[in-house]
């Protein structure tokens, strides 16, 4: 879309404050789908059904890196009930790859597989069991190739190239073809600044591969249409991004691929990349029948990208009065076999790698590797998570070395409004880093030995090990740790990150009703709730209908980067304002002659009426709109533009908005068994403006818990010898249960960002950053161990690795 379709820039102050309609912004209205989800009646994408539909099955590689010598589908194809078996040779169009930024991912493997679980063939059958059996009858002969599994093997002189002949836009500037993207950030003079340091600390940190672990596995239904196109119903994070990648592979124009969002069971970044979308469409178009694909949990672990595991080397210096002198950091992210979002993750990890601190002399280098490990891409926190884990550990080390309190040390160095980022960008809206830390520290401590408060005996639920009854208090030591982080909001580095909202206002049965139509993917974040609130506030109506999200309206951008309330919420606000102007135009035309206030007063829409700013009612909305065509507007909305980071210095106003959260973790560690109970994770966060406080608190608690998970249990374990995933199940990839989830008191600040709609600040990711290092700091505090790796395994706490 062209930049000049822009209508009202983000944050343009309007001279009216619409805030008197029930169910509007600021109220904790309930999710429209909440009850259905709790009672199990909500229809998820995996629940869809179509008459005569077939079931699609993906056949995936059993090895990580191999040449495909031969594929024999004849036996599978001969099975009764099997309608199609597709391989690379069956792809219908010139375009055979897809990808978010670099189109390096084959729809089906072509002569070579680059990671364990790569799709090689597709089967459609009349029963899922038949499809699975047919998949087992496809004969594939592999000739295994040497593996690239880490930086050393990726950059070795004789390293196999994961993608030979790269011609993507990063290929020209990377030092090695097995590096997807490299971003340095250089500011000041580290060598000079180091001389001023009284203390220097260094650390090597390892962040494990985390999975998004959304509960609704990848699924969707493709229905072939009479016009030769296809209707695709799917759980995803960004319909239009999917569409842009799907249509060329099918050889169809985008208007012949009509997408509708179906019920999404969580996303957390894991649905930014395509999974079964193209596969289901290919099978549907080939067979002429609707095709449903549902991954099971095992396949889901191979069906989406994960959080980049990272190795981070950090060096910080400080003066004896506690001022940071310099930072030198190197961040190596493992991007796996395909690029996915790796370049943008590199941009984030480097540009946010110094954390929310004032430090003038900085050298940061971040790279993402191509390897034969599982592909990694977007996940909540997106590069900033890994960096935060490292720089917060460094802050504690520095404070300890200086004999200072870790919170005071952070406060001395905390950035604030006006601080320059290492990229040279000014932080030009509130950045209450010191205040967030003050608030979590000031909170009363949870009582000691809570397992004893239950009366007779020990309440094991309050102890490390929980129901497993491993301690009644023996070996248990409490620890406290703090952390704070910085995350960007919205897509950065010059990306045209717009959103679109269509709003229709009309009178139905004598009542004014607004309909909000966007392509925003509701993945659980609560967009559908706040869109209705915004429409009520801006249009003064109580009845708001949310149209299903589809591609019949313009792009809403991705439900990621903490951006949807800002961007699509902003788009809904923007379109509602334009609709409001139309209403007033009609009112003036119809009724202007009856009351002078139509021409002279500031007019508002509130409670279904047109009122003056003095509160005088001029007309009901129903009267104004009676006999008129529905007001139906679709407008785009943009945040302020950003620029790419300079490829040599990393300088540039690359980010839209910054967001901050702080945590205090209180843990109890069974030091003999190495088991951890997180007792409390107090958090404070600035959200600019809470459009729905219930939803805000839910996001913060959820993000906090996801950060806790990676601190103490979550990790996809990849065998370094085979590059195969060892734990693709919820039996062995553990995520926190309610007994692992502590009390999470939330302290919400609302310091408006003048650039953002309603002053709001994107909030979904920030809690995921600081929660992990806070827990690690607390475990270090309890045990005295260094602990430089997530997750903290019992072995690491007991010296039994």
């Amino acid at each position: 879309m062209a930049q000049n379709t822009r209508t009202v820039p983000a944050g343009t102050p309007t001279n009216v404050t619409q805030n008197h309609t029930k169910g509007g912004i600021g109220e904790s209205t309930l999710r429209p789908d909440g009850t259905l989800k709790v009672t199990g009646e909500f229809a998820y994408s995996s629940d869809m059904w179509h008459e005569d539909m077939l079931w699609g099955q993906t056949l995936r590689s059993t090895v990580a890196h191999a040449e495909i010598v031969s594929i024999d589908v004849s036996e599978a194809l001969a099975m009764s009930g099997v309608y199609a078996v597709l391989t690379y040779d069956d792809l219908p169009a010139e375009t055979k790859n897809y990808g978010l930024e670099i189109q390096d991912t084959p729809v089906l493997a072509h002569g070579r597989v680059r990671h364990h679980g790569e799709p090689v063939a597709l089967i459609a059958a009349d029963h899922p069991e038949t499809a699975r059996r047919a998949a087992a009858k496809v004969r594939i002969e592999y000739k295994e190739l040497p593996l690239v599994t880490d930086e050393a093997s990726a950059l070795a002189p004789d390293a196999p190239l994961i993608h030979e002949g790269r011609d993507d836009h990063h290929a020209g500037h990377v030092p090695h073809p097995n590096i997807v993207h490299r971003q340095p950030i250089v500011r000041g003079n580290v060598e000079e600044a180091r001389k001023r340091a009284d203390v220097i600390v260094e650390g090597e940190y390892v962040f494990g591969m985390q999975d998004q672990a959304f509960l609704g596995p990848e699924s969707g239904l493709a229905v072939p249409a009479e016009d030769g196109g296809v209707d695709l119903y799917v759980a995803t994070q960004w319909l239009h991004s999917d569409l842009r990648q799907i249509a060329p592979v099918l050889g169809l124009p985008e208007e012949k691929v009509r997408m509708t969002l179906s019920g999404v069971g969580g996303a957390f970044g894991g649905r930014e990349d395509l999974s079964m979308q193209i596969h289901a469409c290919l099978l549907a178009l080939r067979t002429g029948k609707p095709v449903k694909i549902v991954y099971n949990r095992f396949e889901s672990f191979f069906g989406h990208v994960h959080r980049h595991p990272a190795k981070l080397h950090y060096e910080h210096g400080a003066t004896k009065d506690g001022k940071l002198t310099h930072l030198k950091a190197r961040i190596v992210l493992d991007g796996g076999a395909y690029a996915s979002a790796s370049p943008a993750v590199v941009g984030n990890a480097s540009s946010l790698g110094a954390g929310p601190y004032v430090v003038d002399d900085v050298e940061i280098e971040a790279v993402a590797l191509y390897t034969n490990n599982p592909p990694c891409g977007a996940m909540r926190g997106f590069g900033a998570v890994q960096a935060c884990f490292a720089y917060e550990a460094q802050m504690d080390k520095l404070a300890a070395k200086l004999g200072m309190d870790p919170v005071e040390f952070r406060q001395i160095n905390a950035m604030e409004q006006g601080t320059l980022m290492p990229t040279g960008q000014v932080v030009d809206s509130p950045a209450p880093v010191a205040e967030l830390l003050r608030r979590v520290k000031a909170r009363p401590m949870p009582p000691e030995r809570q397992w004893e408060s239950a009366g007779e005996g020990a309440d094991v639920r309050a102890l490390p090990g929980g129901l497993s009854n491993t301690t009644h208090g023996e070996g248990v030591v409490r620890g406290v740790g703090y952390a704070v982080g910085i995350k960007n909001v919205g897509f950065s580095e010059g990306f045209d990150d717009y959103s679109t909202a269509r709003v229709v206002l009309q009178v139905i049965n004598g009542e004014p009703v607004a309909m909000v139509h966007t392509a925003m993917a509701e993945v659980g974040q609560g967009g559908v709730t706040v869109h209705a609130q915004i429409a009520r506030t801006e249009l003064g109506v109580t009845q708001v209908t949310i149209h299903p999200a589809d591609t019949q309206v313009g792009s809403a951008g991705s439900t990621s980067a903490s951006r949807q309330t800002y961007m699509t919420g902003g788009a809904v606000k923007n379109t509602c304002e334009a609709v409001r102007e139309k209403v007033l135009e009609i009112g003036r035309r119809k009724n202007g002659s009856y009351h002078p206030a139509w021409a002279t007063a500031e007019l508002l829409l509130e409670g279904g009426k047109v009122v003056t700013d003095g509160g005088e009612v001029l007309a009901t909305l129903a009267d104004v709109l009676e006999g008129e065509d529905p007001i139906d507007l679709e407008l785009e909305f943009r945040h302020r533009p950003t620029v790419p980071f300079d490829l040599v210095t990393g300088q540039g106003d690359g980010h839209v908005q910054y967001t901050f959260a702080a945590h205090r973790a209180v843990v109890e560690v069974d030091t003999e068994l190495g088991l951890v109970k997180v007792v409390e994770l107090a958090t404070a966060q600035d959200v600019g403006k809470a459009l729905n406080m219930l939803s805000v608190v839910g996001q913060i608690q959820g993000g906090t818990t996801q950060g806790l998970g990676v601190a103490v249990m979550e990790e996809i374990i990849v065998d370094p010898k085979t590059a195969k995933v060892r734990n693709p199940s919820f039996t062995d990839y553990l995520i926190p249960t309610i007994l692992d989830t502590p009390t999470i008191p939330v302290d919400v600040l609302e310091l408006a960002d003048p650039n953002a709609p309603y002053g709001l600040r994107g909030l979904g990711e920030a809690p995921t950053l600081s929660s992990t290092p806070a827990v690690l700091a607390a475990i270090r505090n309890a045990t005295g161990l260094e602990l430089n790796k997530t997750p903290v395994r019992p072995e690491a706490l007991t010296g039994t690795l």
Partner: protein
């Protein structure tokens, strides 16, 4: 796959005799996972859910006769006094939904070293009553586990009842997992004092190819308790005895490195659990500690 649905125990035995490859299914919490993940494709499933006697239990003079399908929830709720170790173990099984379906018969049938019930059964002392059309027999729990996921059942036999010794003293059970609920054992340990015979029994899970007892540790502790007159004088067990017992338990383990934990950690954790449990059961025995049911 054929689904056999006998209405009575006799019909079930007949079906198993006719189709020895039939896989019995009751709660389905193990079998269905294997089927859903395509790890197993049995020719026949033998549904035991219509057979009421399998869901019944009876508290006798010396033993509890526990039907193979009695769900863990029932054990937790109704048999805490008689089977405290098994009740504690039951509480560590998966989630409430799984505990409402799964029972000890399934754990025994699968005979995974990670089955939660095994260490408690080994420590308490039990016999597994199995039956076929040829007749019934009692297999001592010590002889039941024959290899990794293998047990002493003949192909035509079904598990009917587990006869577990009623607790005559304190029992404990712990399991190590890297999550505070709903977790497969990295390793597990059970300990039972048997004051009537002045003996102790142990059970170790997930730390050897099969569930095992730490017999050397038991023998050591039996002797040490006897020698020091501890059963009579009720004195606190000395730290050196506790340590040696723990070390011997640790030494009895024969674990592997896998995705859930290292062998070294498992051996270490077995020792810690053994030492702690000895403290807990002895405190209970001395009458100063907690109730017989344990703390969970």
């Amino acid at each position: 796959m054929d689904f056999l649905r006998p209405a009575s125990w006799e019909e079930a035995l007949a079906a198993k005799a006719e189709h020895p490859t039939a896989v019995p299914i009751a709660g389905g919490t193990d079998v269905m996972v294997e089927i859903n993940f395509d790890h197993r494709r049995p020719e026949y499933l033998l549904d035991l859910n219509r057979i009421e006697l399998l869901s019944e239990w009876e508290v006798g003079e010396e033993n509890v006769r526990l039907g193979a399908s009695v769900p863990y929830t029932r054990i937790m709720e109704n048999l805490r006094a008689e089977l405290p170790g098994l009740a504690l173990a039951s509480h560590t099984v998966a989630s409430p939904q799984i505990r409402n379906r799964g029972g000890v018969g399934g754990n025994l049938g699968t005979a995974s070293p990670a089955g939660d019930a095994h260490p408690a059964l080994l420590a308490a002392g039990a016999e597994v009553e199995v039956e076929s059309v040829r007749g019934s027999r009692f297999i001592p729990i010590d002889a039941f586990y024959t290899g990794v996921k293998r047990n002493a059942l003949e192909p035509d036999e079904l598990i009917k009842t587990v006869h577990i010794k009623k607790a005559d003293g304190p029992q404990q059970y712990s399991k190590v997992g890297t999550r505070n609920a709903m977790v497969i054992a990295v390793c597990a340990f059970g300990l039972a004092l048997h004051p009537e015979t002045r003996t102790v029994r142990t059970g170790i899970g997930s730390a050897a190819p099969t569930p095992i007892r730490a017999k050397e540790a038991e023998a050591f502790l039996n002797a040490a308790l006897e020698e020091g007159g501890f059963w009579d004088n009720g004195k606190i067990i000395t730290p050196s005895i506790a340590k040696q017992f723990a070390d011997l338990c640790s030494g009895a383990a024969n674990p592997i490195d896998d995705v859930r934990g290292t062998a070294k950690y498992r051996r270490h954790a077995v020792g810690i659990m053994a030492r702690r449990q000895l403290g807990w059961v002895w405190e209970q025995y001395r009458g100063t500690g907690r109730t017989l049911e344990g703390a969970a």
